[in-house]
Amino acid sequence: MRHTLSVLVENTPGALSRITGLFSGRGFNIESLCVAATLDPTLSTLTLVTYGDDFIIEQIIKQLNRLVDVYKVIDVTEGEFVEREMALIKVKAEAETRAEVLRMCDIFRCKVVDVSSKTYTVEVTGPKSKLKAVIELLTPIGIKEITRTGTIAMIREKKTV
């Protein structure tokens, strides 16, 4: 099963490499990886999407916790959570397709962030499924380039009634 792990690590040189080394050394999978600072400058958050059976996920979490630099590991997939990813898609936009690209952007609430005579660069944010849908629809028009951020996630706050 697919799991999204939120890993809080000490902001030290080598911490990231320890984590990626752990995954490659032990043959665990990484689907995506996203690292950024937190409010506390001494800690970073690493959002990691991985997959495996329960046995493997348990090992991954334990092995991560064993690293001296890892402060906390949260499996956000355990409960309610929000997940987002952003992609920048450079798509062919010549006379006959320009309007169509814009129409799709409208439907999916994407933004056009760069324009040239032959292309539009589209920004799309959302859960993985949305990115997938947009990419599928833009593919026949002609995608020239894609970059993606990888997933970030957060546990939903408990709603009190």
């Binding site: 050394g25 090992q59 334990k62 402060y71």
Partner: protein
């Protein structure tokens, strides 16, 4: 506060950590620290002949004494030469601090002379490692390194010290204790889990304690014995666990696994409860995992949560220091109303069954006239040393014969590379052990292949006047690999036959040590007696039956009940 240089900080920190001896080898990038150590004069520096020797010596020192072993080497090749020793210590959870010199910070990344990214290289085989970029950070890093190396599941820690950091100045604040927010080795086992474990023990009719190196590391041998004796539960040990429970005890089943005793493997296979303590269900122990201990419930105590549920499904996990966990378990036994007679009564059938297995296939070898049997050499050594020696081993058949035929009654008396299986480990490890215990008898049991991997340390042993005895079981083969070839490769002895072996007696003599050789069975006792009596380092070479095998043997990937017997 007065400022201090990095190199003096290192010396001061080592003293505060109680370090008495360092094993190492100098070079341009570490010369300053050697100089500071020399000026200070309190810590003994053992100059080895190869950095790998330094790491194994520090490791042997740590295994024998329970203290942190320390190494000091230069950058580049000095640092890379430590990798095998670090990985050896990592696999067997040995506390060690390795300090490497590094090129000045300004040159890092420039492919400077003797620059190597040793922190990158050793990341996967250290418990943790540090590149010190600023001398201000050095005191805390030194403190953390020792703390991390010895706490929780111990392991090697490397500190890379650029030359300008060694010579830079800063304040030296060295706390007595530290707390790291991201590193909390769990100590207190969960009492609820202990109670659940006890309930299983009470229900079991065929229990076995399976003890590993963690028992020795935790100093839990007394508690282990108390549990075994109070509940009349037999104990089998891994290679790393030998000595955790007396090998001569009535309840000892000896070693289990690939070359374990018939009785131990049968016990595991037929048990209804396995109490694993500080052991990790390694493939050399379980054999084919699907066929392993299918009838047993499993209680698993380990300080490292990653060891639990890694290879087998566990019914009652107990994470924590296994000394405390065992203590609590023994308490549970005492508080209960089951009497000693009742425990004996409950397990009588099981113990009788084990006895019958043991009688059917005891650890055993065939004497043949005219050739020296290696097992006989070890048996004799055991007799003559009354089981009191610290034994180190190399890797291969020599290691397994030592494990099978020397009986270890005390913890920290068998030092052997279990996890990594490093040939060349035993002799330098003996140097470390002898440094820790100058008055004990230290014997390295070696093969003719392994001993040549760190034979240069003869010079170190001579220089330090360490009366280590080396027993070379010379079969002129890389025997363990040859055994596999004999059994599974139609006796094609590819790359395992030595056409040339040196004269080990002359090698000993060339270093100024003493050498003896036995080529006939009737010479064995005499060579051992003379060798053990002679002062200083001694090499005893035994020309053994060339194609002798280690049995029982569970072929790799087979169930542990599918043992090949003598």
């Amino acid at each position: 506060m007065a400022k201090m240089t990095g190199k003096d900080m290192v010396v001061e920190a080592l003293k505060r950590e109680g370090v008495e001896v360092i094993f190492g080898f100098p070079g341009g990038a570490i010369i300053d620290i050697n100089d500071a150590l020399e000026k200070d004069g309190t810590i003994k520096f053992v100059l080895v002949r190869h950095e790998q020797g330094a790491t194994h010596a520090a490791d042997g020192y740590a295994r024998a004494s329970g203290k942190v072993g320390v190494c000091l080497v230069t950058s580049g090749p000095g640092a890379t030469n430590t990798v095998t020793g670090i990985a050896t210590a990592y696999m067997d959870s040995i506390p060690m601090v390795v300090m490497t010199g590094q090129v000045p910070t300004a040159l890092i990344g420039n492919d400077a002379f003797q620059e190597v990214d040793i922190v990158g290289i050793t990341r996967p085989c250290t418990k943790h490692n540090f590149l010190v970029k600023d001398v201000k950070d050095l005191p805390m890093i030194l403190k953390e390194a020792f703390y991390i190396a010895r706490s929780g599941r111990p392991g090697p820690v490397l500190i890379d010290l650029p030359k300008d950091v060694q010579n830079g100045k800063a304040e030296f604040n060295y706390p007595d204790e530290i707390h790291l927010r991201s590193y909390n080795p769990v100590f207190e086992p969960h009492i609820k889990q202990v109670r659940r474990a006890y309930r299983l023990i009470k229900k079991a009719r065929k229990p076995v304690i399976y003890a590993g190196g963690g028992v020795i590391i935790a100093g839990a041998h007394n508690e282990l014995r108390a549990l075994a004796e109070s509940t009349q539960t037999p104990v089998t040990m891994t290679l790393m666990g030998l000595g955790a429970f007396p090998g001569t005890h009535r309840l000892s089943l000896n070693m289990l696994g690939m070359h374990g005793s018939y009785c131990a493997n049968m016990a595991m296979a037929n048990s209804d409860l396995i109490i694993a303590v500080g052991a990790r269900f390694d493939d050399r122990v379980t054999g084919k995992i699907e066929a392993f201990a299918t009838k047993a419930k499993i209680v698993h105590m380990d300080i490292d949560p990653t060891s639990i549920q890694k290879n087998v499904k566990v019914d009652v996990p107990i994470v924590g220091d296994c000394r405390i966990a065992l203590e609590k378990l023994v308490e549970a036994v005492r508080e209960d109303s089951v009497t000693a007679e009742e425990w004996s009564e409950r397990h009588r059938g099981w113990l009788e069954q084990l006895d019958a297995w043991n009688k059917r296939h005891p650890l055993h070898y065939k004497q043949e006239s005219g050739v020296i049997k290696p097992q006989y050499v070890i048996e004799k050594l055991y007799e003559m040393t009354k089981g009191k020696a610290i034994i180190t081993t190399e890797v291969g058949q020599n290691q397994m014969w030592a494990a099978q035929f020397y009986k270890f009654d005390e913890p920290r008396t068998l030092l052997s590379s279990g996890g990594l299986g490093t040939m060349g480990y035993g002799f330098p490890a003996a140097i470390g052990a002898q440094m820790a215990f100058p008055d004990k008898l230290v014997v390295d049991i070696a093969g003719d292949g392994s001993i040549q991997m760190n034979i240069q340390e003869m010079a170190t042993a001579m220089e330090q006047r360490l009366p280590i005895k080396i027993i070379i079981l010379n079969n002129q083969f890389l025997g363990m690999v040859r055994q596999w070839q004999e059994l599974f490769y139609d006796r094609r002895y590819a790359a395992t036959k030595f056409e040339m072996t040196p004269d080990f007696v002359k090698i000993a003599e060339a270093y100024g040590a003493t050498g003896f050789r036995a080529t006939k069975p009737e010479e064995v006792d005499d060579v051992l007696a003379k060798g053990l009596e002679t002062d200083g380092p001694v090499v005893m070479e035994f020309a053994i039956a060339r194609e002798e095998g280690v049995f029982p043997m569970v072929p790799a990937g087979k169930a542990t009940t599918e043992m090949l017997l003598v």
